[in-house]
């Protein structure tokens, strides 16, 4: 039997197929992780009409342009505040941030720890490819010690952030880490993250053959996946602070946090402001916001001291 020619893919309903092929290099893990996310969405039956994807800048940030749902490609580092604001105004929507390690933990590092602390009810998927892929492979706060990048040509002397550990201690409700090789477990974990009320965070270690792999003995995308296969140890519910990643040493994958449900940031905001809105439910408030959007824009301009005509500044 040979391969059967096909015109459409089972995930096409969730993709802006007219924009494919995507920009990612051959063998880049971002497409694989996006596939896992879309399968998880499909498995839990999330309605794409009620789902939003927010990305920042970077190769991973381009994801927002390929999903067939409302999406927003924010400025660098600002995916989280955009998503938190969106969820606060429209709590009935499923809001996912899909972005890179640099976007979320370098320029956007403060936003993400505080969103976790506030337990904002959003899902964050962070692709950790150990570098700034889009700009050619600079040192990132996630680059492993000794890692060669364009800005650490003699090897990195800094200790990287343990992303899952950091977000766990900041107070997130769900924290897990997988790789672009562990596609089935990643898919199941993303289902849980999507269903979880509260801040959920899934870190996905992924290959960037072009900007990171090439300089670190993993030119072929298969090499990084073989590395993951060799060193990944799956253990659930260990102390997230044990989740450090060191070169050529075993590292932990799994679910670090799956906390009992607590009031979210949006729940508390709603409690505090519902009397102001004279509406009986969050859904009605959302409708009210949509209806009065223009007035709210003008109001916010007045409050921030910006006139109608210097909108761009």
């Amino acid at each position: 039997m040979s391969i059967i020619k096909a015109e459409t893919h089972p995930l096409d309903d969730y993709l802006r197929t007219e924009r494919l092929p995507h920009v990612w290099c051959p063998g880049c893990g971002i497409g694989t992780v996006l596939g896992a996310y879309l399968r998880a969405m499909k498995n839990v039956g999330l309605d794409s009409e009620k789902s939003i994807m927010v990305s920042g800048i970077g190769c991973t940030g381009r994801t927002a342009g390929y999903v067939r749902m409302d999406s927003f490609h924010t400025t660098h580092g600002r995916a989280i505040p955009f998503a938190v604001g969106l969820k606060a105004a429209r709590p009935e929507l499923n809001v996912t941030v899909f972005s890179g390690d640099g976007d979320l933990f370098a320029i956007g590092g403060n936003h993400i720890i505080h969103a976790a602390r506030r337990n904002a009810n959003i899902t964050v998927i962070a692709i950790n490819n150990f570098t700034y892929g889009m700009t050619g492979g600079q040192l990132a706060p996630t680059t492993p010690e000794t890692g060669i990048t364009t800005t650490s040509p003699y090897g990195n002397v800094e200790s990287p952030f343990n992303l899952a550990g950091l977000i766990a201690v900041a107070g997130a409700s769900y924290v897990a880490r997988w790789t672009s090789l562990h596609v089935r477990r990643l898919e199941k974990s993303l289902e849980k993250a999507l269903k979880k009320r509260g801040f959920s965070f899934v870190e996905v270690l992924s290959q960037c053959p072009t900007a990171y792999g090439r300089r670190n003995g993993m030119r072929d995308p298969v090499d990084t996946l073989k590395y993951f296969q060799k060193y990944a140890v799956v253990k659930n519910h260990v102390n997230p602070l044990e989740g450090v990643i060191e070169p050529n040493k075993p590292f932990i994958l799994g679910e670090f946090v799956d906390a009992p449900e607590e009031a979210t940031f949006e729940d508390k905001l709603w409690e505090l402001t519902k009397s102001e809105f004279l509406h009986t439910s969050q859904a009605e408030r959302s409708e009210w916001i949509i209806e009065h959007r223009r007035h709210l824009e003008i109001l916010s301009r007045i409050i921030s001291g910006r006139g109608e005509d210097n909108e761009q500044s």
Partner: protein, 94 residues
């Protein structure tokens, strides 16, 4: 070639059969990264000599009945970053 595992020997003995899959490909989406080929547990995908529209070599399926065949595990579909390859269960022939 894949060696016969215990499960496969058992299957042969008992006359039970492996699940079987049909492999589909949107050839012009493929970027020839080789991930599906490298990680297919049954090693039934190989690089083809063909070029697609973008100049990449898409995978080809080489099965050897009865054991070295696609078992519909879905791994190639999940690992493919391009939404190019996918599998469907092959219905048993009567």
């Amino acid at each position: 070639m894949a060696t016969e595992s215990k499960t496969e020997k058992l299957l042969q003995k008992t006359g039970a059969s492996l699940p079987r899959g049909e492999v589909y490909l949107i050839e012009d989406r493929c970027k020839g990264c080789g991930l599906c080929i490298a990680f297919c547990p049954k090693h039934v995908l190989v690089v083809s000599d063909r070029f697609n529209k973008k100049g990449y070599h898409p995978p080809e399926l080489v099965e050897e009945e009865p054991l070295n065949v696609c078992i519909n595990c879905g791994f190639c579909e999940r690992i493919c970053p391009e939404f190019a390859i996918f599998v469907k269960e092959k219905k048993k022939e009567e």
